[in-house]
């Protein structure tokens, strides 16, 4: 008999049928009687003061029920307590092309769109900032008045004595790396439906219910309460199925609040669903990051110091920015053993959509730089790149110089696995020119040890209710967003209670029904909500065991719960239990409902040596009354990090580890890079559902591949040039390489059944693995991603000392400089900023606006 009966086995997700048949409901699939359609008016300018908004013409249009503007909800909010700098609808200023100005609620989408055209806005244009390094020099016309030099936040951390260590290093590598901006592009556009009930006592608007495609229902409830000035208890947030998040839905997106404001004004339910272009404007993706990195090593390849200066182009609002810039520095630690670290991080505001959290939050771009530089160092020292990584391993359990506690550490095995499977030793450096292998490593938190809202509240709480039918209902606030959170919850509860999955029903993410959980982000759900589920199930199990033990005349800890049966440990061999299975085949227990209440108890049946799960449950309810349990999880104090300023970000109860080898070929004529295969090993602690873990690893690799090769948000004067899925170019089935996921199980001492995170940590290794493979193939070191054909060709020409090609030289200056330029709706309606400095119309405009391009 194996150790576990439910976990560790590949199973279909509990909500899979709803997804494959189309029966499952996402927010935009919902419909309420009398529901109106909301449409939002967006700013056409990157930075402007609003002098006047006149909605009167729009309000008069037949079919328009309400028009709301910033005045209808003037309270600022933001996901971080330190970053309350957003308004659901702009009050006095717009700060990016796409910023929200007004919302129309109308009986149909056509009418709402027509009404948007009738809203008159008078702007006073202000100089705009698009480049973070330029923006940092700003003295006037600041994006937010309380942020001098447009710097949202800067941190300067020194651990050990990096200057001294660098001076003692045998070799110091130095370089500037740039990772361009990418976005989540989840398949489901954001959607929110808001509806008020009338209060029977006051006769006025009462409780509010919001259905939303969110990763964080409880944060949404909190921010709605803040902006609408309603008590949280009057607000219910329900999360239906969510069509992917990746961090893009991990904070409150303006439409969620706007829908509620519009519903309040219209006195009717209002649904707002973004179109794809609006999703790109809502953004909250990974910022363009400029990394100046110095790594010092000894002759044997042991790293003795790292200095990093990181500048992030954060866009117009704070969003998760303060956390992002801290992660970039904090997670320089906990992967390798580095004793001296200096980190200068700048989160800078620019007039572009706000950047926020995206898969691998804050770590991905810096990891690209670090792992690429480590490869350069290995080449310099004539060391095998896999070997130099092995020489810098941590020795856990340990606490890193910047206060991160590491317990389980599967990195060595991850490296061994990918080296072996890719035949690294035989092939690395020996493939024909044009084809190469590269390695990269990465790690990520299994949830943040400190919540973004400082409090002593547990990060996850789970309730379990079991009734006389033997059905187990688990109530969890954790948000299923496609990653398998509900399935994980069901598996852990079923395994602990020893019952079949068919008995499990997970009720999730409904603030009225489920206990609080801070949401699905920073890969925290398996570790934290999983632990809470485990504890809740153990509490219920204890109650069942005490009742069953009375019937079986043995101590409760002698009982084994497994496969829908409860039996005494000494009697529970395979053979003994086989005879029982027939007895419970019908699945019904005599007197299931009535026994203990109306029906007389049977005469003493004598001690039993086994019971079905239902019999045990009925016995427990007879004995205790209602059968419920609750469990919660808060990270232990030892895992919460150091004391320095900003120490709260980075610590986690456990870290996942990943190593990858990528095999690529480079076409030296076209500059095109093809990834043939990626071997991806990931230490997830324990794989609760291997098919899901594989899926998360492959998905991470694949998203990293997109950022490495194709995906980039292209800007021109603050206008997004590629706000469409075709132009943004996330890889399709044609471009996706074969990925061999390799699960490494390090069994974390605190994870539920030893599990850690598995859905973010792998992403960061893919980009440097590909960069290093390109170097192996053709000898060029690419320090800016994505590695597009243009950049590859430029580097190849530089390698041959040829003149770089200027693709746009001598061409019409107003012509698009990139093939995939698209420009979006505003562009085509002639509302965008003018296109090119030589465009006469723009010269007139810049004379008025000024500008910083």
């Amino acid at each position: 008999m194996t150790e576990f009966s439910i976990i560790g086995k590949p199973i279909a997700m509990v909500d899979a049928a709803g997804k494959t048949t189309g029966a499952g409901k996402y927010t935009d699939d919902l419909c309420l009687p009398g529901m109106l359609v909301g449409k939002i008016l967006h700013s056409a300018y990157p930075h402007a003061r609003i002098k006047r908004i006149d909605t009167s013409r729009a309000e008069k249009l037949d079919g328009v029920v309400a028009v709301v503007t910033g005045k209808d909800a003037p309270t600022p909010y933001g996901i971080l307590p330190v970053g309350h700098d957003e308004h659901a609808l702009a009050l006095d200023k717009v700060r990016y092309v796409g910023d929200n100005l007004a919302c129309v609620a109308a009986v149909s989408e056509d009418i709402a769109e027509k009404a948007l055209e009738l809203i008159d806005v008078e702007y006073e244009l202000l100089p705009a900032y698009f480049d973070p390094e330029g923006s940092m020099k700003a003295e006037t016309d600041l994006i937010h008045d309380n942020k001098p030099h447009n710097i949202e936040k800067d941190y300067h951390h020194v651990f050990g004595d990096p200057d001294k260590a660098l001076a003692e290093a045998d070799y110091v590598a130095e370089g500037r790396f740039i990772a361009n901006e990418v976005t989540h592009a989840a398949m489901e556009p954001h959607s929110a439906l808001a509806s008020f009930e009338l209060d029977p006592h006051t006769g006025k608007l009462g409780r509010l219910t919001v259905w939303s495609s969110t990763q964080v229902p409880y944060y949404l409830q909190h921010k709605l309460s803040l902006v609408l000035e309603m008590p949280m208890a009057q607000i219910r947030v329900i999360k239906p199925l969510v069509g992917g998040g990746f961090g893009g839905k991990s904070e409150v997106i303006p439409l969620e609040i706007i829908a509620a404001i519009a519903a309040r004004a219209a006195r009717a339910p209002v649904k707002i669903t973004y179109n794809r272009e609006e999703v790109f404007w809502a953004h909250r993706g990974r910022p363009r990051t400029i990394i100046d990195l110095q790594t010092g090593v000894k002759k044997d390849g042991v790293i003795n110091a790292v200095k990093a200066r990181v500048v992030q182009d954060g866009g117009a609002y704070c969003s998760y920015g303060v956390v992002t810039i801290l992660y970039s520095g904090a997670l320089l630690g906990a992967l390798y053993d580095i004793s001296d670290i200096a980190y200068d991080g700048y989160r800078v505001l620019t007039n572009k959509p706000a950047c926020g959290a995206m898969r691998g939050h804050g770590t991905v771009n810096v990891r690209f730089a670090f792992e690429s530089q480590l490869d350069e160092i290995a080449a310099k020292l004539n060391l095998d790149p896999a070997e130099i990584r092995r020489r810098n391993l941590l020795k856990p359990p340990c606490i890193t110089i910047n206060g991160l506690r590491v317990q389980s550490y599967g990195l060595p095995e991850c490296i061994d696995q990918v080296v072996e499977r890719s035949k690294w030793k035989e092939r690395k450096g020996k493939l024909p020119r044009g084809r190469g292998l590269g390695i990269g490593c990465s790690h990520y938190v299994s949830g943040a040890a400190n919540s973004i809202i400082r409090s002593d509240m547990p990060h996850s709480t789970v309730n379990i209710k079991i009734d006389r039918d033997g059905g187990v209902i688990v109530y969890t606030g954790a948000a299923e967003i496609g990653q398998g959170s509900d399935t994980m919850t069901a598996q852990i509860a079923a395994e602990t209670l020893g019952c079949s999955l068919a008995r499990l029903k997970v009720v999730a993410a409904d603030t009225d029904l489920t206990p609080i959980d801070i949401g699905s982000y920073s890969s925290r759900v398996t570790f934290m909500a999983g632990n809470a589920t485990l504890r809740a199930a153990e509490e219920v199990k204890k109650q069942i065991a005490s009742a069953a033990a009375r019937k079986m005349k043995c101590p409760p800890d002698e009982l084994v719960f497994r496969d829908d049966e409860v039996y005494r440990r000494d009697l529970g061999g395979e053979g003994a239990r086989a005879t029982h299975s027939e007895a419970s085949a019908s699945g019904r227990v005599e007197g299931q409902i009535l026994r203990g209440s109306l029906q007389q108890k049977r005469k003493d049946e004598g001690p039993k040596d086994w019971m079905t799960f239902e019999e045990a449950v009925v016995a427990a309810i007879d004995f205790h009354g209602a059968l419920t349990g609750t469990g919660s999880y808060a990270p232990p104090p030892e895992a919460r990090g150091g004391k320095h300023k900003g120490a709260g970000v980075g610590p986690s109860p456990a870290y996942s580890y990943a190593a990858q080898v990528a095999e690529v070929s480079v076409d030296e004529e076209t500059g095109e890079v093809t990834v043939h295969k990626v071997w991806a090993a990931h230490d997830c602690g324990r794989a609760l559902n291997p098919v899901s873990v594989d899926g998360q690893i492959i998905g991470s690799v694949w998203m990293g591949l997109g950022q490495a090769l194709e995906e980039e948000m292209v800007w021109k004067d603050g206008m997004l040039m590629n706000p469409g899925l075709l132009e943004y170019r996330s890889p399709s089935a044609i471009e996706s390489p074969e990925v061999e996921p390799i699960i490494v199980e390090s069994i974390d001492p605190e994870g539920p059944f030893g599990a850690k995170e598995c859905s973010e940590g792998s992403l960061a290794a893919t980009i440097p693995a590909i960069a290093n493979a390109i170097h192996d193939a053709v000898g060029i070191r690419l320090r800016e991603c994505p590695f597009t054909p243009e950049r590859v060709l430029t580097a190849l020409r530089a390698q041959n000392k040829a003149k770089p090609i200027n693709l746009t030289e001598g061409v019409d200056p107003t012509a698009p400089t990139r093939f995939r330029e698209h420009g979006g709706a505003l562009w085509f309606r002639g509302k965008g900023p003018e296109r090119h400095p030589l465009d006469p119309a723009r010269q007139k405009a810049t004379a008025e606006i000024g500008g910083d391009d």
Binding site: P10, Y26, D29, I698, G699, L726, A733, I734
Partner: protein, 163 residues
């Protein structure tokens, strides 16, 4: 715009509908028939989440006028389940992790259905080519190939369920 009466056949049933002549098939399915399985992921035929079959051919319902489909047989993901049970491809997508968030899944199911109707034993390259018009952001597609192969095996074994 003034509504007109049209008759459409969807998943084997006829519906008489009063709709605007400029109404898109996707909106008609989702709003008028409450068949919300077909999804809107973009606005310009780039993602494939709205894929349906029109007379057995995959079409993107987000850029197709509903009125233009009069007299044709429309099949949506809701019409794929066989005799009240999961079709082999649906079961396989669940078992092999072909669906994570599931938003793109109905479109993929329709595309695969069409692929397998045309070619009962496609190679991996043929599968990749067929799927390339649909975008998925979660899975990296690999597990979909496994699911499709499993569904083909199940079909060949004449079973309705795979495992």
């Amino acid at each position: 715009m003034k509504k007109e009466l049209i008759e459409l056949r969807v998943n084997g049933r006829s519906h008489e509908l009063a709709i605007e002549p400029n109404k898109l098939l996707l909106d008609m399915l989702r709003q008028d028939l409450q068949l919300t399985g077909s999804k809107r992921g973009c606005d310009d035929s780039s993602c494939g989440a709205c894929t349906v079959l029109v007379d057995g051919i995959t079409m993107l319902s987000c850029t197709l006028l509903a009125a233009s489909c009069e007299g044709q047989e429309i099949t949506t993901v809701e019409g794929v389940s066989e005799r009240g049970g999961l079709a082999a491809i649906q079961k396989a997508y669940g078992d092999w992790g072909g669906a994570q968030c599931g938003y793109c899944t109905p479109g993929f199911i329709m595309t695969v259905k069409h692929l397998l109707a045309e070619n009962s034993d496609p190679t991996e390259d043929e599968i990749r080519a067929a799927l390339s018009g649909n975008l998925c952001r979660c899975t990296g597609y690999s597990q979909m190939y496994q699911a499709i192969k499993a569904a083909i095996d199940a079909e060949q074994r004449g079973m309705a369920a795979v495992k």
